[in-house]
Symmetry: D2
Subunit: 380 residues, 4 copies
């Protein structure tokens, strides 16, 4: 190890709310500072916005261990335990952390977007340099979030208060990674359509290409404004590449911590960061993505398949392997029908799909989301 | 009692889903048929879409008892226990029935709307009579729902399957009443802006006037298409009054059954139905709405006030009485601060409001919806 | 106000556990110290062991305000928010704080009892003075709790860790009050049979007389050892009155904070404390219990009545008023039976009872605890 | 396959309760009748008393398929979906079915035991034959359950009503198997100490030997009365072997259905039933238990290890393999401590244990049950 490239991490504790008892809700924030001024894009990585999706914390642990000893050309901020309510919300043995237990709103649908900022920016900064436009627009995003946080007489929901403070950190970076997991799931990546090339630099076999539509998630809240700004300038005849990218990285299944797999996934992220010029291994081998077939799918073709019946499920389809029309996704057991009906039902689709994830529990109601599949797909 | 006007109710049981064990989810459906053919608008009334909002069932009980003995000029369909999942979903002592416990989606945000049907209708039926347009469009709404229910290879969510089947019944009627309650709440009415006159015929002091925007609820799913159709014909220079009205009737607080109050509220509904020509008392006194000051508020001015802090809440503001700027909505106890901070906090707003409902529990996190208020209001 | 008698409260923060995120679970502890040495019994009061039972916090608030200005002859320790897990455990709108959400174990059934300590004490201290016996036994109770907390290689449950630390504080006092509430409930008092006289000094109309049987609750964990010790010495021919009393004070309904009612209940507690010589009003009127009929019932005659059917409940019986045989406790609505069965069922008992509390929700399954009643009762 | 030995199953539907909506709670009951009169012991097998423990249903499916085609010398009753409340109780994605969601009481702690029946039987039947004693005592167990179900003015809890009806079926059999699973778990068997020999006839590597103490579970409720009766007669100098055995069979992890593994486990149960003379393969190979090391442990030595800290858990110890003192059970990640504390903690014990199961979630509070282990063990 080369001492010159040992990076120091600074820890901060961000206060994001308080519970009924007055207990403070806090989030740890870790920051590495670049060695000297460079043009490399700065980075923001968070994990565990959904309570049960814990593996991202282990990936951040491994990133903290790794980044300490490599060359770093831009600031990197890492936030594990991003949602202190979801993280601690048990009901029964499992963590019930996909939505606010009081309101039912998905914790990852509460970020902020203000399309008016784009209109204002195009009008106001059309004469400025690319650099000035970028800085002014970034400032307007931050000012807007601060306005929401501090000047609202009717207040914010619990989830908005958490989300907006995270978003404030994210808006200060150029590259944003939000670490999630599926229920029981393959690894997959949500990637803006324009950043398709970058998807090849992660060790992730499945990529969802998402359009410029804000639906409340962190990735969208950070890339959509910039995409829209580019589009608005393009409409005025000016092309600017702001080099902003945001991804939701789905690390596999929820309710699992595996520090060894986390090391692999941390290295996958470093492949991408090396590609973007943020890091360089210190005397070790480069972080190079694995050779693999990378399947991609447009978000509109990413389909949830809802169970046509209630029952107990023996999940059969393997993730990440094309499943032919008529091949079973699952077989559903209905013991109440034994003897006077069909106790075993095989469930399949009428065209080839690529199964990506399935429901976390072995029993479903009619209408429970059984599988999510790429219903149309291609290789990157 | 006059035997000639005794109406018979027909009971049906609608199958709306099945649970993991195979248990069938069913909803009872009660139908009265009009005495002879008339022009009076037909009626659909449902209750208990949200599990804890049970009082509407008691109102339907009283309506069944009352309608049996009055003159009836149109078909009336009544559906208690509209949501058999929410109705039975306990967690702890209370009923956790505002959203699907698996997905967090609000049960009353899953109805269907297809704006394309309006475009098709205007194009196709511009030459037809009002009556023919109405019948054709009603049929297209029903066909569209059937299409969703039966011809979708990826299936429907549990909540959609329930909602769509209820919506099928609702689309067959001209007047739709969805009986809900608030958490701890005054009585109030969600009323389309164009139906403001009708609001004066309920015994309900507070009316929310809602615009022509579909947000997933039953009332919107049934009046928005017709409103849009009227607007579309108006744009073509043709004015048609389809006489379709839908309301969400908020009966007071959840987790309460009171059969005596239910009788009062059933009579309030009969006031409205008599006004619309659906019923006539049989030798008794007319159903006439009470004299009262009726406050109204546009939906955009109906504000949720989120708690600025966590704590234990002593709710102070009375419902339905204007609360002056600076007067306390609530005082919040924070025993963790006693001795070295403020243990008691008074919460107020900087302008006059009309409190309508407050949170159901005595403890809140920072950001929990504390009160909902008319922030601007006027009398009807 | 007389400055000489102004008591200062000391605040401490007790660490009782930690959550998955590492968030510390803490409990605020307030202590008043007696003015000079006296023989008056010391006092321990806690509140909110069950999450939804919040009103005790408001009573402690009022006690803190009142005790500051009266004469105090013994140490008083007050602990609001005793259970930081239960206090913050929401699921849906309500607080789900009666049992550990992971294990289902009632938070007030996890205190510690070690019957062997009595045998040891009788054997070891039979020759000692009453005072020495008391001190030695108190020390053995504390040592035993410390042993449980610190020297157990397999560890403690979350709830035991909280309960044992509270119990450590309680064992240091002579009089213990655990402030609870029922679901929807009248005020009532759990009182050891031997302390019946003291029950007359609270402003509480209903008293449950409980035997010397440990069932896991705080009151039992603190009085049972002393009662058993007295009995054991009595069996040896020696009568000792240790003057230890513990009560569970049920303040009414859960999910309610009312600071005005809390003031009344704080004064009721001061009546009892004045009767025991702990406090004296400072130039004000004495704290004197109200005249009232006080009904009592032995614990064995305190009956839960389980609903004979599922349905929606209109609770009819008033609390604290004898209900004659055959008079309805409640009427249960069953809309699924309307038309082809009985939609309304009146529920009654075959002998006179005194209703004390009922279930918190308006809907019940078959077998849900509908009411709790004194099935045999008498006046104190 | 030999048609002569094809057994027909009769299906029945048992009504065990009703929900708030009036929905009936039912349980399917399958019965095979013996081919001709024999002395072979009759059998009762149920599954899924805990909602998430679904694999037993798949085992019953395979047993139904297998038993249809073998020789059968005694009646066999099979009950899948034994608990229709737990089976359907979702909260979040998982099934929350270990305890009544309203009361927190474990569904498998609500069976009935009445020790007085033994005293009565010994007194009344001391002069009778073994056969007469057995029949009279069995009848007294059934009468007692019926008495509880039907003649209790204060009623039964929801869980008791379900449990008692299942117990009524179980009391009619000689051999009782209750199919459960752990959270994430190895296969293991709860076996009465006296039936140790039988444990060798299941393909299960770990056996818990349990004493004659009733703690509310089905196995105990069915073998304890007979064990006590034997003991009571032995005290009178008379030895009777009633040949009653009850087991709780832990099939592995919850929230999993695997029909292939279920077939293996069904055959394991048939090994035991062949050993007891209940079945004989029809022209196929015998059901013979596998050779394996079978570890056993007394219930008093079956220890829960509670997490000494909150955090995210990487479970390390393998099930069913002795873990040496000091070897890690798990490592616990605490990202809030990174940089200014220890982020990674290895958890071990000071003596050798045999890990059997661990918690289902990857995050724990301080005091959550992390592992259950045989702390002392031996081979059978």
């Amino acid at each position: 190890m080369n001492n010159q490239t040992q990076n120091k991490v600074i820890k901060d504790v961000m206060h994001v709310g308080e519970m009924a008892s007055g207990a403070q809700l806090t989030v740890p924030v870790y920051k590495f500072t670049a060695q000297g001024a460079t043009d490399a894009p700065s980075v923001y990585i968070q994990a565990n916005m959904h309570g049960a999706e814990v593996q991202g914390n282990a990936v951040i642990y491994q990133l903290l261990e790794l980044i300490g000893n490599i060359e770093l050309f831009a600031d990197v901020t890492l936030v594990p335990y991003a949602n202190p309510v979801g993280c601690n919300h048990k009901n029964g043995e499992y963590t019930l952390g996909r939505f606010d237990p009081i309101t039912g709103v998905n914790w990852n649908r509460m970020y902020h977007n203000n399309p008016k900022l784009v209109d204002v920016a195009v009008e106001q900064y059309i004469e400025e340099s690319d650099r000035e436009i970028e800085q002014a627009f970034k400032q307007s995003l931050l000012d807007d979030i601060n306005e929401q946080l501090d000047h609202n007489i009717f207040g914010l929901t619990t989830g908005q208060r958490i989300a907006y403070q995270l978003q404030k950190l994210a808006h200060q970076a150029d590259l944003v990674l939000d670490l999630h997991t599926g229920p029981i799931s393959s690894k997959h990546l949500y990637c803006p359509e324009y950043a398709k090339e970058s998807a090849k630099h992660f060790n992730i076999e499945h990529t969802l290409l998402i359009p410029n539509e804000f639906d409340g998630a962190l990735d969208e809240s950070t890339f959509c404004p910039w995409w829209s700004l580019s589009e608005a300038f393009k409409a005025k005849g000016r092309c600017i590449n702001f080099n902003k990218e945001s991804f939701t990285v789905e690390l596999g299944s929820q309710e699992q911590i595996d520090l060894d797999i986390a090391l692999t996934d941390a290295k996958s992220i470093l492949c991408y960061l090396q590609y973007k010029g943020v890091v360089k291994p210190n005397g070790q081998q480069d972080f190079v993505p694995d050779e693999m077939i990378r399947y991609a799918c447009y978000l509109k073709d990413y389909k949830a398949f809802y169970s046509p019946m209630g029952g107990m499920v023996d999940y059969l389809a393997e993730f990440g392997k094309p499943l032919k029309a008529g091949e079973p996704l699952a077989r559903i057991l209905r013991m109440d029908n034994y003897g006077d009906g069909d106790a075993l039902h095989y469930i399949s689709l009428d065209h080839e799909v690529l199964p990506i994830l399935h429901f976390a529990s072995a029993s479903v109601n009619q209408g429970t989301e059984l599988y999510k599949v790429f219903s149309e797909f291609f290789t990157l």
